[in-house]
């Protein structure tokens, strides 16, 4: 932050930025220490977001915010569904990048002796990194069907259990999806990558529960005791989603000229939600959303199979139930109360997670009384958190919270500072088993390149937009 970004405290954990030409306030969630450390470029980006047509109430930066393109990563904004715009830059290239978490009835003692073998088995089973080829090769027709039906498609084809559906945001399916709005190029990119992890910050982690903060809610989520083994899978819609975003950004560059929309950054290209371009993008984006849910569903299935092979028990016997799957790059039309009035808005969450409280109609029966499970991964050297959505999130952040720890060091700087051996040795000294598809990937994701996850979690708790339920630490890591 610089002196030009003067912040005024709105309430505990929420700050307002000063700036000219802002249509609505630009707000930042965080502890005083954390908001003072946010890079200037990212703050400028959240101010830019406030200039988009139809934006309501305020634009919000989450505590894990960092400089992105168009929207910052860790940005939330809601536009009026009738008069506002939809912006692909407010969702990101990796549409429905997200994270799912599984529980098991295994403990650290059960898996320690076989941890090396287990990580190797998963690494061999789940393709990762650039050029990681899927074991599944769908035809174009199968891909279209999968992108219409979401996780239902995977489950019907033997990748998972029926009960996984209600444990996925939106039951793993956006019904508005229409593959006729998706280019052949996107489908061509998506076909060989269906069922792959990808690279960058994507990962698959075997973890143990280290601390439980809310025993009752934890129990409802399937977390019973310290030492219990959990699994997290972080990936998105692969080349399919990247191409949908690229295709529509190009279309939207022209739409901006057509509808005479003034934007401060080309990456904020947008079109009225009700326009042909806006509607087409929505339907194509939801195909990518459904692709990503299938992708995580298939990867979860292969992970369950790897556990079955190594432990000689069925996944059902090991009670490898999905806790929840959340999307953190998505836009959805939701009803929110703004100045006492109920309104339909299109909520853009880019690097932000939905965090609905108990009672929201979108939640499945199993979580209607507890609130929505929120899964926040940290870097591979520290910890990740399971949280729950709150009423304050609805009031202050359109039912949203953070999505991770957020980078503080560039990938180039991380490569200068660390070596792959050093990162691996350090983590192994802590008892972790690591396998990575690329040395560069390992270094770029070195724990020192991220904000402290504990600071981010402290920030969302301070603002009250989600509540800690349990903390997990990594034992085995598969990196793309």
């Amino acid at each position: 932050m610089t002196s030009s970004d003067i912040m005024k405290k709105v309430r505990e954990g929420i700050w307002e930025l000063e700036g000219k030409d802002l249509q609505v306030p630009a707000r930042v969630v965080g502890t005083e220490k954390l908001v003072n450390s946010i890079e200037e470029g990212a703050l400028q980006q959240i101010k830019n977001v406030t200039t988009l047509p139809g934006i309501v109430k305020h634009a919000i930066a989450m505590p894990d915010i960092h400089w992105g393109y168009g929207f910052p990563i860790g940005g939330v904004a809601a536009m009026d569904a009738k008069t506002g715009v939809i912006s692909p830059g407010g969702i990101g290239f990796d549409i429905n990048c997200g994270i799912r978490m599984l529980r098991t009835n295994l403990t650290e003692e059960d898996i320690r002796p076989k941890l090396n073998e287990l990580v190797r088995e998963i690494f061999n089973n789940v393709p990762a990194g650039l050029g990681g080829k899927s074991k599944l090769r769908l035809t174009k027709e199968e891909l279209d069907e999968a992108c219409v039906r979401g996780s239902e498609w995977a489950i019907e084809n033997g990748y998972g259990w029926k009960e996984d559906l209600e444990r996925t945001e939106d039951y793993g399916r956006r019904k508005e999806a229409d593959p006729t709005k998706v280019s052949d190029n996107a489908k061509k990119r998506g076909m060989p990558q269906f069922g792959t992890l990808g690279s960058g910050n994507h990962f698959l982690e075997i973890q143990k529960v280290e601390e439980i903060y809310e025993p009752e809610i934890a129990k409802a989520f399937g977390i019973d005791k310290v030492g219990q083994i959990t699994i997290m899978i972080h990936c998105g819609s692969r080349g399919y989603g990247h191409q949908v975003a690229s295709d529509y950004l190009k279309i939207f560059e022209d739409a901006v000229r057509k509808y005479n929309i003034k934007i401060p950054d080309k990456q904020l290209a947008c079109a009225p939600l009700t326009s042909q371009e806006g509607q087409d993008y929505l339907k194509a984006m939801y195909c990518a959303v459904n692709y990503a849910w299938n992708n995580r569903q298939v990867i979860m299935h292969w992970t369950r199979e790897a556990f079955e092979k190594i432990f000689g028990k069925t996944a059902k016997e090991m009670e490898m139930n999905l806790i929840y799957d959340v999307a953190h790059n998505i836009a959805k039309i939701e009803e929110h109360t703004i100045n006492g009035e109920k309104r339909e808005v299109v909520v853009h969450r880019k690097g932000a997670t939905r965090a609905f409280p108990a009672g929201r109609p979108e939640l499945p029966e199993i979580y209607k009384k507890t609130g929505q499970p929120v899964i926040i991964p940290g870097d591979m050297g520290t910890a990740s958190y399971l949280l729950v959505g709150t009423e304050a999130a609805l009031e202050w952040t359109f039912g949203s919270t953070c999505h991770g720890s957020g980078r503080v060091m560039s990938r180039a700087a991380a490569k200068k500072k660390y070596s792959a051996e050093e990162v691996k040795n350090k983590l192994e000294a802590k008892g972790e088993v690591i396998m990575s598809a690329s040395k560069d990937g390992l270094v770029e994701e070195a724990p020192g390149a991220y904000k402290r996850i504990d600071d981010v979690i402290e920030s969302v708790e301070l603002a009250g937009i989600s509540k800690k339920v349990a903390k997990v630490v990594p034992l085995g890591v598969i990196k793309g």
């Binding site: 992105g68 393109y69 290239f93 190029n185 060989p192 990247h242 190009k250 180039a412 040395k439 990937g441």
Partner: protein
Amino acid sequence: MDFEYLEHTADVKFRAYGSTWENVFRNAAKAMLEVMTDTSILKEEKEIRLKANASTLDELVVAWLSEILFQSETKEIIFKEAKPEKIWEENRKWYVKGTAIGQKMNKNMKFKTEIKAVTYHELEAKEKNGKKYCQVIVDI
């Protein structure tokens, strides 16, 4: 200097230079491909044709680099180089055509990072003191 990487926290930002737009586009491709792998060790065994168009010259840089990524992923080739033969403007639209050459992907290759997409953020294609350059951020 053909290209240089600039500081960016989460993604990769670079500038590519040249005396002609064809050279700038070629160097931009080099900068992008070097993010994915060490191009110096790649063989020149597969060549494919490339073409792209856009409404403005800076948007053409994005279209060109996006086309290289698309061909790489769908043909499963990792490119060593991409060369534009011609860049031109016609009826208020910009066009590029050229070739890319590289090696079929295989399991034993050492990759660096996958690129998700080419962004429009802080995009530039300009001429300053007779020197042409473009600036691009790719999402990884």
